[in-house]
């Protein structure tokens, strides 16, 4: 009896909903996912999926879009052209990346992983939410050189996308919001937490004595900015890199308009640094050794140079070698070979 009443009530409510909306909706029955946070990591200070519930269907749509050249003007520049999985989603072996019509980008493409912890994106932090980030490369004339209207028109012609958008979103319209939310679901789900360092932290591996010595040096000299376990504190700092007079990139100051932010750039994570060379915002250093040499002898002292590096970081050649060996333990081979993030 009870079951009959409940069923009838549910049925009637459903009928009432359909009457209100005036049409019978396509079935929307996604598989909701929960972002698995690595054990022992801090929870993100904000939830990038708060207004964008993570679903398998949304993730898969985002993955397809990430690898689709149709997001660019001439079809040659999907997101993945500058964010290659084998390079931890940075551009392998390029100081600056290539864009539409034989152009260069003006900054080094960062690796895309652990973005769920990153409140502000870009080297200058100009992007305040992962969902609106793709608008920048998509519309930049030296990157994908497209406009969103045109991308949406292309996607609407593809019945595969029509199906995927309606599976991923309750109102399955192909629009800019759904495009951006799907991309955010894919990119925000990429987590890198399976390096040798992580194994050691879980008690499942051990550092060599050189790696351990490098770790000890890291703890003493690097950790205040490159904070574990994400290996960045997400702050903006001037590490004493003289300005490149071709690029004239003043970093954070361009966003805030404050002189005190001149030449400051976001502290990059050191995870997967063996795969993401060249280094720094403009890719000026090809090896980790060159970066460390900069900190030892190359720091330019200006009004905004960070006090932690002003005057250089003293290190012996042995310190340097050990530190490089330690940084190599941050390479996550699971990330670069995970078929879930592949094309």
């Amino acid at each position: 009896m009870l079951i009959v009443f409940v069923t009838a009530a549910v049925f009637l409510q459903e009928a009432c909903r359909k009457k209100d909306s005036g049409l019978v909706q396509q079935p929307y029955n996604p598989t909701f996912l929960k972002l698995e946070l690595p054990a022992g990591w801090p929870a993100p200070s904000f939830n990038i999926f708060a207004t964008n519930p993570l679903t398998e269907e949304g993730f898969q749509l985002g993955r397809k879009l990430f690898y689709d050249g149709r997001l660019s003007k001439d079809g040659n520049f999907p997101c993945a052209s500058c964010h290659q999985q084998f390079a931890a989603f940075a551009t392998y072996d390029h100081d600056l990346s290539h864009g539409f019509n034989n152009s260069f980008t003006t900054r080094n493409a960062p690796g895309l992983f652990n973005l769920a912890w990153m409140k502000e994106l870009h080297w200058d932090g100009g992007i305040n939410h992962i969902e609106v980030q793709p608008l920048a490369p998509l519309t930049a004339p030296n990157e994908m050189a497209e406009n969103v209207d045109s991308v949406l028109a292309k996607l609407k012609k593809d019945t595969g996308y029509v199906r995927m958008f309606s599976a991923a979103f309750e109102d399955g319209t192909i629009n800019s919001q759904h495009l951006l939310k799907a991309l955010a679901q894919f990119m925000g789900s990429i987590i890198s937490a399976d390096s040798k360092y992580d194994m050691v932290k879980k008690g499942l591996g051990t550092f060599t004595s050189s790696e351990q010595a490098g770790y000890t040096f890291f703890k003493a000299k690097c950790e205040s900015c490159h904070r574990e376990p994400l290996f960045t504190d997400f702050s903006y700092r001037n590490t004493g890199l003289p300005i490149n007079s071709f690029l004239n990139d003043f970093g954070r100051m361009v966003i805030t308009g404050n002189r005190s932010d001149s030449l400051k750039f976001k502290v990059p994570t050191l995870r997967n640094s063996s795969l993401t060379y060249p280094y720094t915002h403009d890719g000026r250093f090809y090896t980790i050794g060159q970066v460390l040499e900069h900190y030892r002898t190359g720091v330019a002292n200006g009004p905004t140079t960070d006090p932690l590096v002003a005057g250089g970081i003293p290190m012996t050649n042995t310190d340097k070698t050990n530190l490089i060996l330690f940084l190599n333990t941050l390479t996550d081979n699971t990330l670069v070979s995970n078929p879930r993030f592949a094309q």
Binding site: Q13, H129, Q177, G257
Partner: protein, 254 residues
């Protein structure tokens, strides 16, 4: 006995669910429509795009090609009572006549004042991909420094030193000293109230004078500052000027 109790509650619950089927949760609250008709003007003359040359208070001539601004979070008030439009975001575009008329349902009653934000509140500037009036496709969202352009004027002027004599003011910024958000509060003309009656449309006529962008409290001359496309002091100065551009000219109650 227990069985009877269960049956009773089941039937009661069933009836409650049925009752919930009605459209209006509060049948006592009746509504009418508030229609805001916006008219963009220059010195008392209706604005025409790509049309006549206008003259600013410094005697500089200019021709307007684009004029767009956001109006959000509209509330009508009267002696402690307030009614706010839900999901209240509107892009007024001189090139789109339909966008110059904003209608929403409000509780019946009389109102003496209307308040809205000129711009998009800071929350929506930091909450990811939006849709509707806030869709980034509306050409009012910065892709390199996330945030909405709250108001946009594009013009040409022989006084401009820029390529093709361009004059471009893209005014945005939502935090700290760069905040250009303006709360606009307009009272009904003397002796008049907005009277929202059940099922009727009451109209508020509001004019926006583009020539207020140049003066008071800050002098903005085309010859010296023909372009402003980043948040900062100049944008804040222009916003301080244009916050005075609205006049509520008339109320038509039906």
């Amino acid at each position: 006995m227990l069985h009877k109790k269960i049956l009773f509650f089941t039937i009661a619950g069933f009836l409650l669910i049925l009752a919930g089927c009605g459209k209006n949760p509060d049948p006592a609250a009746t509504t009418g429509i508030v229609k805001i008709s916006l008219k963009n003007m220059v010195n008392g003359v209706p604005l025409t795009l790509a049309g006549p040359a206008y003259t600013n208070p410094f005697g500089e001539t200019y021709t307007v090609n684009k004029f767009k601004y956001y109006i959000s979070n509209i509330t009508v008030n009267f002696s402690g009572m307030a009614y706010s439009e839900k999901e209240s975001y509107h892009l007024v575009d001189q090139a789109d006549a339909a966008s110059q008329s904003i209608s929403f349902a409000a509780k019946t009653g009389t109102y003496s004042n209307i308040i809205f934000t000129l711009g998009v509140d800071s929350m929506r500037n930091v909450s990811g991909a939006q849709t509707g009036a806030l869709d980034p496709l509306k050409d009012m969202f910065w892709t390199w420094n996330s945030g909405y352009i709250m108001a946009k004027m594009e013009a040409t002027s022989p006084l401009s030193t820029q390529p093709n004599n361009k004059v471009e003011y893209h005014i945005g910024g939502f935090s700290g000293a760069n905040n250009v958000l303006k709360t606009i509060s307009l009272n009904m003309p003397a002796g008049k109230l907005l009277d929202v009656r059940e099922g009727k449309i009451s109209e508020l006529k509001i004019e926006a004078d583009l020539n207020k962008w140049w003066l008071l409290p800050n002098d903005i001359k085309i010859a010296t500052t023909p372009v402003c496309t980043t948040p900062g002091t100049l944008a804040a100065n222009i916003a301080a000027n244009y916050s005075k551009m609205f006049t509520l000219t008339d109320v038509v109650n039906n």
